[in-house]
């Protein structure tokens, strides 16, 4: 039976007029399915959900306007031209006319994505808001092995690597990193750029396996969008801190695979010498670059001095005053968070051993104001530097141990960053099993959330640090007023003193807490045992009475709700129950673990 008979030639109405299924769209656009997919990916066209699926539920529906939007896309024409070209190349190859084939290959038109990016993200903030997937993908491809069979080209991998490093250099330099999390899947970073929280995942720097159940073509299509997007974003970001964008890197460091360090150095030096005049900084920076290069070729050990030099350079230049003013205003613009991040590792100097994840730490530590070096060529200072306060080690076997520094595991850095305080290193020393690494993305304020023990201790430490900071500002100011050339040892001394004080404070707090706990416990004991049982019984009955009174009341309220709301309420209650069950399971495990521990002791 034909339910809705529509005479031929009459216009469609409703959902049938607004939506088309995919095969119809393909027919209309006269393109192949892979190209359609690619266009959808590039243009950000997604299927839609019509209220009534007039062609069946298993179909994919697109809005007519979306299809028209694709129809007017110049990319379609370009891809047709590309197809024609490919055919020509094939023909030339078949005729062994390699010269012509090569020429054609070179002349193959290349689609430009910039217009599409602008269209998709009319404002810069929009682009930043959707940068998560882009960054994750680019970081993933930067860690992939290039392979001919999987169509992952070497250039593509290199480009991804470069873009990722540029992004990290910017974040690190401007201290915009907020949170880090080392998970089994990789390392999560969260940065705040222009008010947008951007979270991305970088895989561990190990060989990634490209399995066969992954359609690499789709991913490459996405990459085709993400690569230019990230480069445009990077350009804009570098522009915002007065830097020339495709950064010119020191080839020697690049060759040593210390791109990030090279980049960050580039960024820091350029930033230091930036002046209002747009041309001047370039010249200066070029000068700097040449100087830098000369120096580098001269001597390796003088790198630290060089860095100091670079910091002093701007003050000798004519535009220094202006620049200073600018910097001051810039400081004011920075929010409290950035300031806090900037000064976290202010007095700490790191040295990375070979076995720790260098790339990650080289990114994180400078982002929080620390100075860092590593074992290997091109490092700014060696292991024997006396001013190093923390050496990051992940292995027991050590040659020479310096007494002046702490040998900590890399997790300490990440935990410090998340807690925003310098944690005591006792638990993180080499050879010990470090305390659990907690996710910084969990919100404990939520009702019924489970708070692990270590989160509690960190909270105590944070509170202690805050209290300590309060009386300190005077001291801090004095320090700041001191001449720049602080003796390094002095810094260390202060840092150590700070730390010692912190430790003391922490101990005190812990002690106090312990006492409190003891008292509470005592009270509890008296309450439960010595105290009159009748009162508790009475209380209980009271509670039960109230419960009795309350429970039916809940039910009664439900009676008056509409069915929709009642169902919603029930769904909510079920989900809440499930969450609660999860928490209960964890609590139960915790209880068991504690019991086992107490039994052992």
């Amino acid at each position: 039976m034909v339910k809705h008979y529509r005479p031929p030639g009459k216009k469609k109405e409703g959902n049938a007029a607004k939506f088309v299924i995919r095969s119809q769209a393909l027919k209309q656009l006269q393109i192949s399915l892979p190209l359609f997919r690619k266009l959808c990916i590039l243009k950000g066209v997604t299927p839609r959900e019509p209220k009534k699926k007039f062609k069946g539920t298993h179909q994919t529906y697109y809005h007519v306007k979306d299809i028209a939007f694709l129809h007017h896309e110049p990319l379609v024409e370009i891809h047709r031209a590309i197809r024609v070209h490919e055919r020509k190349i094939k023909k030339a190859e078949a005729k062994k006319n390699h010269e012509r084939a090569n020429r054609l290959r070179e002349k193959t038109p290349k689609p430009k994505i910039d217009r599409i990016i602008r269209q998709r993200y009319p404002r810069f903030v929009d682009a930043l808001g959707e940068l998560d997937d882009c960054l994750t993908m680019v970081h993933l491809f930067a860690a992939l092995p290039a392979s001919e069979s999987k169509k992952i080209e070497v250039e593509c991998v290199h480009k991804c690597r470069r873009l990722a490093h540029e992004w990290q250099a910017f974040i690190s330099r401007t201290h915009k990193l907020r949170k880090t999390f080392v998970s089994v899947k990789g390392i999560y970073y969260q940065a705040e750029v222009e008010g947008q929280m951007i979270t991305w995942l970088t895989p561990h720097s190990l060989q990634q396996v490209v399995s066969d159940d992954v359609d690499i073509v789709t991913m490459l299509n996405f990459l085709q969008l993400y690569e230019p997007l990230l480069s445009f974003v990077n350009f804009r970001l570098y522009h915002s801190i007065n830097l020339k964008y495709p950064p010119i890197l020191d080839p020697r460091l690049e060759a040593l695979a210390a791109d990030l360090y090279a980049l960050s150095r580039y960024v820091s030096t350029k930033n230091g010498s930036s002046v209002v005049n747009s041309e001047a900084p370039q010249v200066e920076s070029e000068q700097l670059e040449t100087k830098q290069k000369e120096l580098e070729t001269g001597n390796e050990t003088s790198e630290l001095r060089l860095a100091q030099l670079q910091h002093q350079l701007p003050s000798n230049e004519p535009g220094a005053l202006m620049h200073l003013v600018e910097e001051v205003t810039g400081e004011h613009e920075e929010d409290q968070d950035t300031k806090e991040c900037k000064t976290l590792f202010k007095n700490v100097k790191f040295f990375l051993s070979r076995e720790v994840p260098r790339e990650s730490l080289l990114f994180v530590i400078p982002a929080f104001g620390g100075i860092v070096s590593w074992e290997g060529e091109g490092a700014p200072f060696g292991e024997s530097d006396q001013s190093i306060t923390h050496q990051i080690v992940d292995r027991e076997a050590q040659g020479h141990r310096f007494l002046s520094r702490d040998y900590v595991q890399p997790q300490w850095v990440f935990d410090c960053v998340n807690a925003r305080i310098i944690l005591p290193t006792d638990n993180y020393l080499v050879g010990r099993i470090p305390p659990p690494h907690l996710s910084p993305f969990i919100n404990y304020d939520e009702e019924g959330a489970y708070v692990p023990d270590y989160a509690k201790t960190i909270k105590h430490l944070q509170a202690a640090a805050r209290k300590e900071v309060l009386p300190l500002p005077g001291v801090g100011n004095e320090d700041l007023e001191d001449p720049q050339n602080l003796v390094v040892e002095g810094i260390i001394g202060r840092a150590e003193a700070n730390e010692a004080a912190e430790r003391k404070k922490k101990m005190m707090i812990l002690e106090q807490q312990y006492h409190n706990d003891l008292k509470k416990e005592l009270k509890g004991v008296t309450y439960t045992t010595a105290g009159s049982k009748e009162t508790s019984g009475a209380v209980q009955t009271g509670e039960s009475a109230t419960n009795v009174e309350e429970n039916p009341d809940d039910d009664m309220g439900k009676l008056m709700m509409s069915r929709k709301k009642r169902k919603l309420l029930e769904a909510m209650q079920i989900s809440n129950k499930r969450k609660q069950a999860q928490v209960d399971l964890i609590k139960h495990r915790k209880k068991k673990i504690d019991e086992a521990k107490s039994q052992r002791s």
Binding site: E106, G129, V182, V184, T218, F232, P452, M560, R563
Partner: protein, 706 residues
């Protein structure tokens, strides 16, 4: 014969050898061999005059060997050598002296080489002769015998012993072993090196200009150099001009050097770009969920599932299984590469471009806030909370109860066929009537002075005198309930033939006999009229009886649907009839339908009117209760779904703003139902209490009266 035989081969040899000399080593040996053969022949002649060819040849061989050994060893050696050389040139080796067949015509071996190989089978696969003892036939038709196969071991031993074995080659076709000479080996080596076979061959000889010689006086051509060799080409110039013009026109373009277009400032200032594109609303993709503690490389111990739990995951459905099982590593160094990194990224890609995006409002609210705000129940007191008294006596389910107007007495009807009257306060059973049939409804006269009870049981409606009140009242009631049997039947016969008024002596009352089962009896507020409902009757579903005149009349309206209950308006002459799906409201004075209320219920079971008269509740068999505000609409103002089973009865309180429903599920719900005199304010309904503790019998619950 002999002479011929002698000469023939000789001639052959000479003729055949003629073209060869240039390539061959000098010929003298040939003549030698010739002389040899002559000599042999002569010797043969000497030995045996008449013999067959075979024997001859054999003898020749013998003689030859003996004589060669004796007289001319040197010459013989030379001869063999020469024959070898010839072999090489011809490319077919057949010059081994050992073969007896060769020896047969030694004098002509060179010629024989030329002509044919020893084997005469022709160009056929050797396989065909594999099993045969011969290989072809000779000119005389005799089989050419194969050589006897040598034992492998022997041949090996021979090879080992023989220092020259490495240069011996077995010729399969001719079935013989050939020994290569030094020259041949050289030649083979050269061939292997891709060189010309002969070492004296020069592939790059100096060019000799045969046309030049020193004393040449005249050039080959005496023509003068043409002019065109000295002036620029006209055609080339034309071609150049053509190209130049084409380039200027732009028809010829050059491949420009490729320029990598890098990024530029795409978002200059965002101020101008705030205008929206005319495209459909863009929904940004939701961000991925941020990882919790369990994804940490070093999670707290309590996040790691025990082995039992991991095993129990196997029993779960695939979809319910947790996707990620937390693991713990003691150092960052030991974290392995995540094997699903690519896969997860790919799945995210799929989500991004294949999933329809729909904006969904996510309620991030406390579920409690969804509940409507109702006044506290404490403020709405008094209302019944707990069981105060239990009236025991009925043996079966109580189907109906009714309370007297003063509230002192209560009547109850049960399906055990009895009607009882109780004192409410004490629970004392005052009276008991055996009706005989299951009682479906009892109803007390609303007038406080008239202690009459209407009871419906089966097809009868009984009007019982309860015997309460003082004597005067009793007399009044008795008078009212007295009927002359003869006249009564006549009166009723005209108007409503379905009902007969009879005198019931047993119970001291009246009996109204209906033709169908009566389910409900309801009094008018003045106590004179009452209505009965017969759902199964087609014509007279609802009847109205007048007690004072003992009259029965049917409703003057047509009623659609199955009547369930009927009731009178508490203050006006309005009559409500509840059918299965709707409630009809009639004006009795004007005898017309005022309103039809659409319940939307599947099967209504009971109806009650608010004392104010503008609101009514309808209970249904699916457990729903509808509150109608008749001023508001003909649709229910509120539908309360509280009972899981049939609602048996609903009722309003006479003075308090309360109403209640009772159901087969052995519960009764008490609600607060406040009706305001202000027309703008909707009635307030608050559920108050669930009364439990009832028992069910025969699957039916109980009815209710307040």
């Amino acid at each position: 014969m002999k002479g011929k035989k002698k000469t023939m081969p000789k001639n052959d040899v000479h003729e055949e050898e003629a073209p060869l000399p240039s390539e061959k080593v000098p010929s003298p040996p040939v003549s030698d061999s010739d002389s040899d053969s002559d000599y042999e022949d002569s010797s043969a002649d000497d030995g045996e005059s008449s013999a067959s060819l075979d024997s001859l040849s054999e003898s020749e061989l013998e003689d030859d060997s003996s004589e060669n050994g004796g007289s001319s060893g040197n010459v013989e050696a030379e001869g063999t050598e020469s024959s070898l050389d010839e072999d090489i040139v011809n490319g077919e080796g057949s010059g081994s002296e050992n073969s007896d067949l060769d020896q047969q015509v030694v004098e002509s071996d060179s010629s024989e080489d030329e002509v044919a190989p020893r084997n005469t089978i022709g160009d056929v696969p050797l396989k065909w002769y594999e099993d045969e003892p011969h290989i072809g036939y000779d000119i005389k038709g005799k089989k050419i015998k194969k050589k006897e196969k040598q034992d492998k071991l022997d041949s090996f031993l021979a090879n080992v012993d023989d220092s020259k074995s490495w240069r011996k080659i077995y010729d399969e076709y001719n079935d013989e072993v050939v020994e290569l000479t030094k020259d041949e080996i050289k030649l083979v080596r050269r061939l292997l090196k891709n060189q010309a076979p002969h070492s004296d061959f020069d592939p790059y000889p100096d060019y000799v200009d045969w046309y030049k010689w020193e004393d040449a006086k005249h050039p080959l051509s005496n023509a003068p150099e043409p002019k065109r060799r000295f002036i620029p080409s006209k055609w080339e110039a034309k071609k150049v001009v053509q190209y130049v013009r084409a380039i200027r026109k732009g028809t010829i373009t050059f491949d420009k050097p490729k320029e990598e277009d890098g990024p530029y400032l795409l978002w200059g200032d965002d101020s101008g770009s705030t205008e929206k594109s005319n495209h459909l609303a863009y929904i940004p993709a939701p961000k991925q969920k941020l990882p919790g503690h369990d994804e940490s490389y070093n999670p707290p111990l309590e996040y790691i599932p025990t082995q039992e739990e991991i095993n129990s995951y196997q029993l779960m459905f695939e979809e319910d299984r947790p996707k990620f099982i937390p693991k713990r590593f003691t150092s960052m160094r030991s974290i392995p590469a995540y094997e699903n990194a690519m896969k997860e990224s790919f799945e995210r890609c799929l989500d991004l471009y294949l999933c329809p995006r729909v904006r969904k409002k996510r309620l991030n609210i406390d579920p409690e806030s969804l509940k409507p705000k109702l006044p506290s129940r404490k403020e709405l007191k008094p209302y019944p909370i707990s069981c105060y008294i239990e009236y025991k006596g009925h043996e079966d389910a109580v189907t109906s109860i009714s309370v007297e107007a003063s509230g002192q007495w209560m009547a109850s009807g049960s399906s055990d066929g009895t009607v009882r009257v109780w004192e409410v306060e004490t629970g004392r059973c005052l009276r008991r009537w055996e009706v005989g049939e299951a009682v479906s409804c009892v109803s007390w006269n609303p007038l406080p002075d008239m202690h009459i009870l209407a009871v419906s049981a089966g097809q009868d409606v009984l009007l019982l005198n309860t015997g309460l009140g003082d004597e005067e009242l009793q007399n009044q009631i008795k008078e009212l309930l007295w009927i002359d049997s003869s006249t009564a039947s006549d009166d009723s016969g005209d108007k409503a033939p379905s009902v007969s008024w009879l005198k019931d002596d047993k119970h001291m009352g009246l009996r109204l006999r209906h033709f169908k089962t009566v389910t409900a009896v309801e009094w008018h507020r003045k106590g004179d009229y009452f209505s009965t409902v017969m759902p199964t009757d087609i014509l007279f579903k609802v009847l109205i009886h007048q007690l004072s005149k003992k009259l029965t009349q049917k409703l003057p309206f047509k009623l659609r649907g199955l009547a369930v209950r009927s009731t009178f308006h508490p203050s006006r002459s309005i009559f409500f009839v509840c059918t299965k799906k709707s409630v009809r409201v009639y004006d009795l004075l004007k005898t017309k339908l005022i309103k039809k209320l659409d319940t939307g219920l599947r099967e209504a079971s009971s109806i009650a009117v608010h004392p104010g008269g503008d609101n009514l509740i309808v209970g249904s068999k699916e457990g729903k209760m509808c509150w109608f505000d008749m001023d508001l609409s003909s649709k229910p103002y509120k539908i309360l779904k509280c009972h899981p089973k049939d609602i048996n009865n609903v009722i309003f309180h006479r003075s308090y703003p309360l109403f209640a429903s009772c159901s087969d599920d052995c519960t009764a719900y008490v609600f607060h139902g406040m009706v305001y005199s202000d027309l703008n304010q909707n009635p307030l309904i608050v559920p108050l209490e669930i009364l439990r503790g009832h028992t069910s019998s025969n699957g039916r619950g109980e009815s209710l009266a307040v």
